[in-house]
Symmetry: C2
Subunit: 384 residues, 2 copies
DNA sequence: GGCATTGCCGAAATCGCTTTCGGCGTTCAT
DNA sequence: ATGAACGCCGAAAGCGATTTCGGCAATGCC
């Protein structure tokens, strides 16, 4: 066993056990610090390393008793496979990247963990790259950073189209999906069906007997806000109801309050659909201050279905977005790309239909005394 | 170049360029799909692979013009280092793990991204493991999962002591820190100085002239809640003020409202310190309904300093926790452990002193008319 | 002039795993 | 009886980087 340069090869022979295998650990504890490698397991089990590999990877053609011996040895040595070594040879890192952004909003933050949970169930690690700003440049940097750790796919929690298209550009050759408002033709995406959600909310108010519904919208440059406007308008048109001017806003309680004050002064306003629960919170307060009872004088419906909404006064009827499910769907979209890189047409857009959560902020017009009497005195409802 | 088994070695020789280097790509595009490896760069630059390595790792003893040639080659080939190969030999994955949990609370969710940002600045990847439940078992699983991808250290966003100690146990041998409420002797941690924050809030109310301050607390099994009780009590004692019974609660607006109703009925209550902004929101509403003006009749101070608080009615004076900074501090603690694994005594507990954000919900007792006159009519303040 | 030092760079070994190739012994079909 | 097929397993060759060891020139010092 002499190499062509004349030097003896270092201790790789199974017949030279006295040569320290790694580092300078004089003794290798049988029950060790998780530092054992596949060869240790193989030796202890009396098989070769690749049989151990076969066991780990669930290959067939391993005798049951051999498998047992290997598994025992793994347990005794507290063996942990080295993912880097595996990744090196398989060319698969086993990790997915998530591009996320810090936001005071309820939705985006709760999706991340859901995605991770689902990814873990599918055997993938998840690493994140955060966005400092919601702009192109940040997305490009984040994707580049994720590529550097050779993620196998990327999910971007991207509320704006500019971000989605930046992802499409930067991820070239890498499976990627968007989730949330921003989406682009180039990439599959999972989204809430905002149009349908808004329609649900509006129709609910119409069905209760309101002649029309006013809408406090989200920020103009977020597609989700626009879609909710569309749904609201469509429901109104379908019912032959007059379509009031959109009340512009952002997602915050602050502007909800401001716009709510204006709406409160208009006695013809009996139903308001808000693009977010926070908006609704502000509107609710403004109405309350103006002496207009909810839902007696004015009905209000929100959008988000946050847990806090159940504690508003009165408990807020809202359109619940299941962010966790949305996260899981986006992962499914990504996994589909991963399994068959060039498969048939995948759904480009997985639309998750939201659900109306009826609580107590919406009622028939003029139904005030009966509807609110109990509510105002009792605490907030405990519903989820 | 014949191996001892008699078979010719496969194409590793630089003199056999016709042998495809990898896979079956017939031609290797100079401007390629990021699939080039270090040897390609070396060839193009006319140097050896380890010189390329030296350039990448910033080793000295590389001539300037050589370095330039290598950098040019890297650019032309769009070369990306294979992290798995590096990790395999360096035994460092370059990634950190974060154990987080999904929560409707404002704080925990915003720390994650801050930590990631700081970690990226320090050259570390970040991968996450989410907790389905806030219990021991989940923490153990999450840490195990992170270990499997050989993270170099772990930060746990753990609000309860049981979780911190589970981390301490599971992370054995791996640098780890906790951030947030839960902490254990065994692990360093970064935390808000809740005692000082509560003292700040209480003293602020006392300084305004209130004879005492009532406290609506957070959930009993969260240390953060307990610490805030301690700080409140300490401030009261230091001022010689009577110490009312703690009003128990959790973090939610719902219980804030419930407890607020009770407090509102007690005319002696002129100042309330709430353990969270959400709690304060509920209290505010209860007071408003009871016809007690804020801050004219009753002053209220929250804890969190959420952006929404600036839009409460009236804008909420609160104790701001800088979660982003907290995240960065926890990372610093971890990095310190990483650089010198057995260094001297590190700060076991990095206490971040929060800051009182004075808005308009607290004033001198009986100061009602002047203080609220303008506020009630104007919109919510625009302060951060 | 001789020798050690310094600056720069290359050959080979190595990290721990998977893959490819092939070797046995049994069983099955012919 | 014989060849093929199958079940089970091992040897060796990588994956693409870093590390160790060493080589060669130019320089500094005695």
């Amino acid at each position: 066993m002499i190499d062509n340069d004349g030097r003896a090869r270092s201790g790789r022979e199974r017949t030279a056990p006295s040569v320290p295998a790694r580092g300078n650990e004089a003794e290798r504890p049988v029950r060790g610090s998780g530092r054992s490698i596949m060869r240790d397991v193989a030796e202890l089990a009396g098989v070769s390393a690749q049989t151990v590999s076969r066991v780990i990877n669930g290959h067939p053609y391993v005798a049951d008793h051999t498998r047992q011996r290997v598994l025992d040895a793994m347990r005794r040595l507290d063996y942990r496979l080295n993912p880097a070594a595996r990744a090196l040879v398989t060319r698969r890192s086993g990790t997915l990247g998530i591009v996320g952004y810090e936001s005071p909003l309820y939705g985006p933050t709760s999706m991340l963990y859901a995605i991770e949970g689902a990814a873990r169930a599918a055997g993938y690690f998840v690493s994140v790259a955060s966005l400092r700003h919601l702009d192109r440049r940040s997305v490009l940097d984040a994707v580049d950073w994720l590529r550097r750790q050779s993620v196998e796919g990327i999910i971007a929690i991207a509320p704006k189209p500019a971000m989605a298209s930046a992802l499409a550009e930067a991820s070239c050759g890498l499976p990627a999906v968007t989730v949330g408002g921003g989406c682009t033709e180039a990439l599959p995406s999972a989204q809430i069906d905002n149009v349908e959600g808004a329609r649900l909310a509006t129709r609910h108010l119409l069905d209760l007997g309101h002649t029309t519904v006013h809408h406090v919208a989200g920020p103009q440059d977020w597609p989700e806000a626009g879609e909710r406007v569309d749904g609201w308008r469509a429901a109104l048109r379908a019912a032959g109801a007059p379509v009031p001017a959109v009340v512009p806003g952002d997602w915050s309680a602050g502007t909800g309050y401001e716009q709510g004050e204006r709406l409160a002064r208009d006695p013809r306003v009996t139903a308001i659909f808000c693009a977010s629960d926070q908006l609704a919170l502000g509107v609710l307060r403004a109405l309350h201050e103006a002496g207009r009872r909810v839902p007696g004088d004015v009905s209000v419906v929100g959008f988000d279905g946050t847990a806090d909404g159940a504690h508003f006064l009165p408990p807020l009827t809202s359109v619940r977005q299941d962010f966790a499910e949305l996260g899981r769907r986006s992962l499914r979209l990504l996994l589909a790309q991963l399994d068959r890189p060039v498969s048939g047409p995948l759904p480009r857009r997985d639309l998750l239909v939201p659900e109306l959560v009826v609580r107590h902020s919406a009622a028939a017009p003029g139904d005030g005394d009966r509807a609110t009497a109990g509510l105002t005195l009792s605490g907030p409802a405990r519903g989820a």
